[in-house]
C-alpha cells in the first residue's frame, strides 16, 4: 500500500490519528488505542504487518512517546506508529507482545529505562538495572555520584 492508502486504512479504523510524513509515514495515536489498532494491522490481510522492527521510548519532557517501527514482509510497506502517553507520572500503555513476540524483551527494556508500565505484560521485570535504580533515560534523571559530566 502506498502512504495515501495507509493513511486512509488507519483513519478508517482509528479516527483519532494524526499523520506526519518524514522518512516514513508516522501515525500518532493516543496510547489507549494502541492494542486494537495493532491487532487490526496484524490480522487484516491487506496490511499484514508481521514484523515489528523496533520498539523504543522517547521522553519529550511533558509526555512520553512509544515508537513502533513495523513492516509487512509480504506487501513490503514500512511505517511508524507512535503512541502518545500524556500522563507522565503514571505512564501506562497496553502491551503488544501477544501480537509480536519480539515486544516482550523490548517492552521490558522501555520499562527499565523510562518507567513506562505495560499492562498485561506476562513478565514485566527490570532488564538491565536493579529495582532500586531510577529510570535513567528520562530527561530529569540526575546522579551526582556516578555521572561525571563533561
Amino acid at each position: 500500500m502506498t502512504n495515501e492508502e495507509l493513511k486512509a486504512f488507519i483513519s478508517a479504523h482509528t479516527p483519532e490519528v494524526t499523520f506526519e510524513e518524514t522518512q516514513f509515514l508516522n501515525a500518532i495515536i493516543p496510547s489507549e488505542k494502541i492494542y486494537p489498532l495493532a491487532k487490526y494491522l496484524r490480522e487484516n490481510p491487506d496490511a499484514d504487518i508481521d514484523y515489528l522492527i523496533c520498539l523504543s521510548g522517547v521522553d519529550w519532557k511533558d509526555h512520553f512517546m512509544v515508537v513502533y517501527h513495523m513492516t509487512s514482509r509480504k506487501h513490503k510497506h514500512t511505517f511508524v506508529l507512535k503512541a502518545k502517553i500524556a500522563d507522565r507520572n503514571n505512564a501506562e500503555i497496553h502491551t503488544v507482545c501477544d501480537i509480536w513476540r519480539t515486544a516482550e524483551f523490548h517492552e521490558r527494556e522501555v520499562y527499565d529505562l523510562f518507567g513506562i508500565k505495560f499492562i498485561n505484560h506476562p513478565d514485566l521485570r527490570r532488564l538491565f538495572l536493579d529495582d532500586t535504580w531510577g529510570f535513567p533515560l528520562r530527561k530529569d534523571y540526575t546522579d551526582d555520584i556516578t555521572i561525571v559530566s563533561l
Partner: protein, 181 residues
Amino acid sequence: METPATAKFDVKSFPGKVTHMPGGGSFVVTSIDKMVNWSRSNSLWPLVFGTSCCAIEMMSAASAKYDWSRFGFEVARATPRQADVIICAGTIVYKMAPVLKRLYDQMADPKYVIAMGACTISGGPFFYNSYSVVKGIDHVVPVDVYIAGCPPRPEALLHALITLQKKIQEGGPREKINIGF
C-alpha cells in the same frame, strides 16, 4: 645520587596510597626465594575473564600468531580456584563488580591482577556521562599491571605479562610488600 627509590617527594600530592619499602628499595631475596619466584613467574595460569572488546584481543594473544603459552600462560582455567592471575579484559559495570570481587576472593594466594584496556584503568571511553560504569577496577580489586589501549594490541598484553613476571621475580608476593597496610 638520587634514585627513584630514595627521592623525596611530596606524599600528599600523590594521588594513590604510598607504601614505603624498608631499606628504600626492593627486598634482598635469598636463593630459595629466587627459585620459588622464578618458578611462580613462569607458570602463571590465567582465569578466563573477558567481558567485552578487549577479550577478543586477549583471545588473539592466546591463538597461534601471538601465542602467550610460550611464556607459561598455556592453561587458561575456567575456575578461579585453579588460576593465578586474573586478566580483567573489558568494562566492569556496577552489576558486574560484585562478581569480579567474588572471583578475586575465590582465587588462592599468591594471586595477581592485570587490568587490560582503558575501561579497566579508569572507565575509558565510558568515563564521562555514563551512569553504570565503574571508573576503574582498582576501586574493586588491587591491580598489579595496567595496560593502556582501546583495545591494546596483543603485543601490549604480552609486554604486560612479561612485566608481571619481572615483578614477581624481583620481590615477594604482594602480602610481603604491603607492610603497614
